[in-house]
Protein backbone atom coordinates (compact mmCIF):
# COMPACT_ATOMS: atom_id res chain seq x y z
CA UNK A 1 0.00 0.00 0.00
CA UNK A 2 2.77 2.37 0.99
CA UNK A 3 4.59 1.42 -2.20
CA UNK A 4 1.54 2.27 -4.31
CA UNK A 5 1.02 5.70 -2.74
CA UNK A 6 4.69 6.65 -2.98
CA UNK A 7 4.90 5.39 -6.54
CA UNK A 8 1.88 7.41 -7.67
CA UNK A 9 3.10 10.60 -5.97
CA UNK A 10 6.61 10.46 -7.38
CA UNK A 11 5.63 9.19 -10.82
CA UNK A 12 3.22 12.12 -11.17
CA UNK A 13 5.79 14.60 -9.86
CA UNK A 14 8.39 13.16 -12.24
CA UNK A 15 6.23 13.39 -15.38
CA UNK A 16 4.81 16.80 -14.39
CA UNK A 17 8.29 18.22 -13.87
CA UNK A 18 9.38 16.78 -17.22
CA UNK A 19 6.44 18.50 -18.94
CA UNK A 20 7.27 21.70 -17.07
CA UNK A 21 10.82 21.41 -18.39
CA UNK A 22 9.48 21.78 -21.93
CA UNK A 23 6.81 24.36 -21.06
CA UNK A 24 9.24 26.82 -19.49
CA UNK A 25 10.74 29.38 -21.84
CA UNK A 26 13.72 30.29 -19.71
CA UNK A 27 16.56 27.71 -19.56
CA UNK A 28 17.21 28.16 -15.84
CA UNK A 29 13.61 27.18 -15.01
CA UNK A 30 14.00 24.11 -17.19
CA UNK A 31 17.21 23.20 -15.36
CA UNK A 32 15.41 23.43 -12.00
CA UNK A 33 12.58 21.22 -13.33
CA UNK A 34 15.16 18.70 -14.48
CA UNK A 35 16.55 18.58 -10.93
CA UNK A 36 13.03 17.75 -9.68
CA UNK A 37 12.83 14.96 -12.30
CA UNK A 38 16.18 13.56 -11.13
CA UNK A 39 15.16 13.67 -7.48
CA UNK A 40 11.83 11.92 -7.98
CA UNK A 41 13.51 9.33 -10.21
CA UNK A 42 15.97 8.64 -7.40
CA UNK A 43 12.98 7.98 -5.13
CA UNK A 44 11.52 5.61 -7.72
CA UNK A 45 14.86 3.78 -7.74
CA UNK A 46 14.66 3.52 -3.96
CA UNK A 47 11.16 2.04 -4.29
CA UNK A 48 12.65 -0.51 -6.68
CA UNK A 49 15.26 -1.43 -4.09
CA UNK A 50 18.16 0.04 -6.04
CA UNK A 51 19.76 1.95 -3.19
CA UNK A 52 23.14 2.45 -4.78
CA UNK A 53 21.72 3.63 -8.11
CA UNK A 54 19.50 6.11 -6.26
CA UNK A 55 22.52 7.55 -4.43
CA UNK A 56 24.52 7.73 -7.66
CA UNK A 57 21.56 9.41 -9.37
CA UNK A 58 21.46 12.16 -6.73
CA UNK A 59 25.22 12.65 -6.57
CA UNK A 60 26.05 12.57 -10.27
CA UNK A 61 22.87 13.77 -11.97
CA UNK A 62 21.33 16.19 -9.51
CA UNK A 63 24.77 17.18 -8.29
CA UNK A 64 27.48 17.17 -10.92
CA UNK A 65 25.63 17.26 -14.24
CA UNK A 66 23.07 19.85 -13.20
CA UNK A 67 25.79 22.10 -11.78
CA UNK A 68 27.44 21.87 -15.20
CA UNK A 69 24.17 22.82 -16.89
CA UNK A 70 23.37 25.72 -14.57
CA UNK A 71 26.96 26.95 -14.87
CA UNK A 72 26.75 26.92 -18.67
CA UNK A 73 23.38 28.70 -18.66
CA UNK A 74 24.78 31.40 -16.42
CA UNK A 75 27.98 31.64 -18.48
CA UNK A 76 26.14 32.02 -21.78
CA UNK A 77 23.53 34.32 -20.26
CA UNK A 78 20.93 32.50 -22.34
CA UNK A 79 17.69 34.41 -22.60
CA UNK A 80 14.23 33.23 -23.56
CA UNK A 81 14.04 31.52 -26.90
CA UNK A 82 11.53 32.39 -29.55
CA UNK A 83 9.76 29.67 -31.51
CA UNK A 84 10.60 29.30 -35.15
CA UNK A 85 8.07 28.30 -37.79
CA UNK A 86 9.29 24.73 -38.07
CA UNK A 87 9.18 24.22 -34.29
CA UNK A 88 5.52 25.39 -34.27
CA UNK A 89 4.73 22.77 -36.91
CA UNK A 90 6.61 20.18 -34.85
CA UNK A 91 4.56 21.08 -31.76
CA UNK A 92 1.21 21.00 -33.57
CA UNK A 93 1.79 17.59 -35.14
CA UNK A 94 4.37 16.07 -32.82
CA UNK A 95 2.77 16.47 -29.39
CA UNK A 96 -0.53 14.69 -30.24
CA UNK A 97 1.40 11.99 -32.11
CA UNK A 98 3.66 11.37 -29.11
CA UNK A 99 0.64 11.31 -26.77
CA UNK A 100 -0.93 8.64 -28.99
CA UNK A 101 2.32 6.65 -29.01
CA UNK A 102 2.57 6.74 -25.20
CA UNK A 103 -1.08 5.68 -24.85
CA UNK A 104 -0.52 2.82 -27.29
CA UNK A 105 2.64 1.76 -25.45
CA UNK A 106 0.85 1.82 -22.11
CA UNK A 107 -1.98 -0.26 -23.56
CA UNK A 108 0.37 -2.81 -25.12
CA UNK A 109 2.48 -3.05 -21.97
CA UNK A 110 -0.55 -3.51 -19.73
CA UNK A 111 -1.88 -6.26 -21.97
CA UNK A 112 1.27 -8.02 -23.10
CA UNK A 113 3.28 -8.36 -19.92
CA UNK A 114 0.28 -8.91 -17.67
CA UNK A 115 1.20 -8.69 -14.02
CA UNK A 116 4.95 -8.96 -14.00
CA UNK A 117 5.30 -8.81 -10.25
CA UNK A 118 8.18 -6.94 -8.73
CA UNK A 119 10.74 -9.25 -7.21
CA UNK A 120 12.09 -8.73 -3.76
CA UNK A 121 15.76 -7.89 -3.55
CA UNK A 122 18.05 -5.04 -2.67
CA UNK A 123 20.87 -3.61 -4.74
CA UNK A 124 23.14 -2.16 -2.09
CA UNK A 125 26.69 -0.86 -2.55
CA UNK A 126 28.19 -4.19 -1.47
CA UNK A 127 26.48 -6.30 -4.14
CA UNK A 128 26.93 -3.68 -6.86
CA UNK A 129 30.58 -3.20 -5.97
CA UNK A 130 31.25 -6.93 -6.03
CA UNK A 131 29.67 -7.18 -9.48
CA UNK A 132 31.37 -4.04 -10.77
CA UNK A 133 34.88 -5.03 -9.73
CA UNK A 134 34.63 -8.71 -10.58
CA UNK A 135 32.31 -9.48 -13.50
CA UNK A 136 32.34 -6.03 -15.09
CA UNK A 137 35.95 -5.08 -14.40
CA UNK A 138 36.92 -4.53 -18.04
CA UNK A 139 33.89 -2.31 -18.91
CA UNK A 140 34.54 -0.39 -15.69
CA UNK A 141 38.14 0.34 -16.63
CA UNK A 142 37.14 1.22 -20.20
CA UNK A 143 34.63 3.69 -18.74
CA UNK A 144 37.43 5.39 -16.82
CA UNK A 145 39.29 5.86 -20.11
CA UNK A 146 36.10 7.27 -21.62
CA UNK A 147 35.78 9.77 -18.78
CA UNK A 148 39.42 10.77 -19.22
CA UNK A 149 38.87 11.38 -22.94
CA UNK A 150 35.71 13.38 -22.15
CA UNK A 151 37.60 15.57 -19.68
CA UNK A 152 40.34 16.26 -22.21
CA UNK A 153 37.77 16.88 -24.93
CA UNK A 154 35.85 19.36 -22.79
CA UNK A 155 39.04 21.21 -21.87
CA UNK A 156 40.25 21.37 -25.48
CA UNK A 157 36.83 22.45 -26.78
CA UNK A 158 36.21 25.16 -24.21
CA UNK A 159 39.73 26.57 -24.39
CA UNK A 160 40.22 29.93 -26.04
CA UNK A 161 42.26 29.63 -29.20
CA UNK A 162 45.63 31.33 -29.10
CA UNK A 163 46.31 33.60 -31.98
Amino acid sequence: MMHTVLFIIFAVVCVAAAINLLAQRHPINSALSLIVVMGSLALLYLLLGAEFVAAVQIIIYAGAIMVLFVFTIMLLNAGEEELSKSSRVAIVFGVPAVAVIVAALAYILSRGAGTAALGDFIGGPKEIGRLLFRDFLLPFEVTSVLILIAIMGAVVLARREER
Binding site: L22, P27, F69, A117
Partner: protein
Protein backbone atom coordinates in the same frame (compact mmCIF):
# COMPACT_ATOMS: atom_id res chain seq x y z
CA UNK B 1 -4.95 0.23 -9.70
CA UNK B 2 -3.98 -2.67 -7.49
CA UNK B 3 -0.44 -3.65 -6.77
CA UNK B 4 2.33 -1.67 -8.47
CA UNK B 5 4.12 -3.92 -10.94
CA UNK B 6 6.92 -3.54 -13.44
CA UNK B 7 4.45 -2.31 -16.06
CA UNK B 8 3.75 0.90 -14.18
CA UNK B 9 7.43 1.76 -14.07
CA UNK B 10 7.71 1.00 -17.78
CA UNK B 11 4.81 3.36 -18.55
CA UNK B 12 6.46 6.16 -16.56
CA UNK B 13 9.70 5.52 -18.44
CA UNK B 14 7.85 5.58 -21.78
CA UNK B 15 6.25 8.91 -20.87
CA UNK B 16 9.62 10.40 -19.89
CA UNK B 17 11.17 9.11 -23.12
CA UNK B 18 8.36 10.66 -25.19
CA UNK B 19 8.64 14.00 -23.39
CA UNK B 20 12.38 13.98 -24.00
CA UNK B 21 11.82 13.25 -27.68
CA UNK B 22 9.38 16.16 -27.94
CA UNK B 23 12.01 18.38 -26.34
CA UNK B 24 14.73 17.34 -28.78
CA UNK B 25 12.47 17.88 -31.76
CA UNK B 26 10.64 21.09 -30.85
CA UNK B 27 12.94 23.24 -28.75
CA UNK B 28 15.59 25.34 -30.46
CA UNK B 29 17.77 26.17 -27.48
CA UNK B 30 20.75 23.79 -27.48
CA UNK B 31 20.91 23.70 -23.66
CA UNK B 32 17.28 22.52 -23.53
CA UNK B 33 18.00 19.93 -26.21
CA UNK B 34 20.88 18.55 -24.12
CA UNK B 35 18.57 18.45 -21.07
CA UNK B 36 15.99 16.52 -23.09
CA UNK B 37 18.68 14.00 -24.02
CA UNK B 38 19.40 13.57 -20.31
CA UNK B 39 15.68 12.94 -19.83
CA UNK B 40 15.76 10.19 -22.47
CA UNK B 41 18.79 8.57 -20.83
CA UNK B 42 16.98 8.67 -17.49
CA UNK B 43 13.97 6.90 -19.00
CA UNK B 44 16.28 4.13 -20.19
CA UNK B 45 17.79 3.92 -16.71
CA UNK B 46 14.38 3.53 -15.11
CA UNK B 47 13.60 0.71 -17.53
CA UNK B 48 16.87 -1.05 -16.70
CA UNK B 49 16.36 -0.79 -12.95
CA UNK B 50 12.73 -1.94 -13.19
CA UNK B 51 13.68 -4.98 -15.27
CA UNK B 52 16.59 -5.68 -12.94
CA UNK B 53 14.10 -5.80 -10.06
CA UNK B 54 11.68 -7.95 -12.04
CA UNK B 55 14.26 -10.58 -12.89
CA UNK B 56 16.07 -10.35 -9.57
CA UNK B 57 19.37 -9.76 -11.33
CA UNK B 58 21.81 -7.02 -10.44
CA UNK B 59 23.65 -6.48 -13.78
CA UNK B 60 20.80 -4.20 -14.89
CA UNK B 61 21.68 -1.77 -12.13
CA UNK B 62 25.36 -1.95 -13.06
CA UNK B 63 24.39 -1.06 -16.62
CA UNK B 64 22.40 1.92 -15.40
CA UNK B 65 25.50 3.12 -13.54
CA UNK B 66 27.47 2.88 -16.78
CA UNK B 67 24.76 4.89 -18.52
CA UNK B 68 24.92 7.58 -15.82
CA UNK B 69 28.69 7.78 -16.36
CA UNK B 70 28.20 8.08 -20.10
CA UNK B 71 25.63 10.80 -19.58
CA UNK B 72 28.13 12.75 -17.49
CA UNK B 73 30.76 12.44 -20.23
CA UNK B 74 28.22 13.41 -22.88
CA UNK B 75 27.08 16.47 -20.93
CA UNK B 76 30.67 17.62 -20.40
CA UNK B 77 31.60 17.31 -24.07
CA UNK B 78 28.26 18.69 -25.29
CA UNK B 79 28.47 21.78 -23.12
CA UNK B 80 32.12 22.23 -24.14
CA UNK B 81 31.07 22.23 -27.79
CA UNK B 82 28.27 24.65 -26.91
CA UNK B 83 30.67 27.10 -25.26
CA UNK B 84 33.08 26.89 -28.21
CA UNK B 85 30.18 27.49 -30.59
CA UNK B 86 28.84 30.42 -28.58
CA UNK B 87 32.27 32.01 -28.64
CA UNK B 88 32.27 31.90 -32.45
CA UNK B 89 28.69 32.78 -33.33
CA UNK B 90 27.21 34.45 -30.23
CA UNK B 91 24.09 32.27 -30.33
CA UNK B 92 22.85 28.97 -28.92
CA UNK B 93 19.94 28.60 -31.31
CA UNK B 94 20.03 25.21 -33.00
CA UNK B 95 18.56 26.66 -36.21
CA UNK B 96 21.61 28.86 -36.67
CA UNK B 97 24.03 25.95 -36.38
CA UNK B 98 24.15 25.37 -40.12
CA UNK B 99 27.82 25.43 -41.06
CA UNK B 100 27.62 21.90 -42.46
CA UNK B 101 24.32 22.41 -44.28
CA UNK B 102 24.21 23.30 -47.96
Amino acid sequence: MGEISTIHYLVVAAALFAIGTIGVLTRRNVVIILMSIELILNAVNLNLVAFSRMHGQLPGQVFSIFIITDAAAEAAVGLGILIAFFRNKETINADEVDLLKW
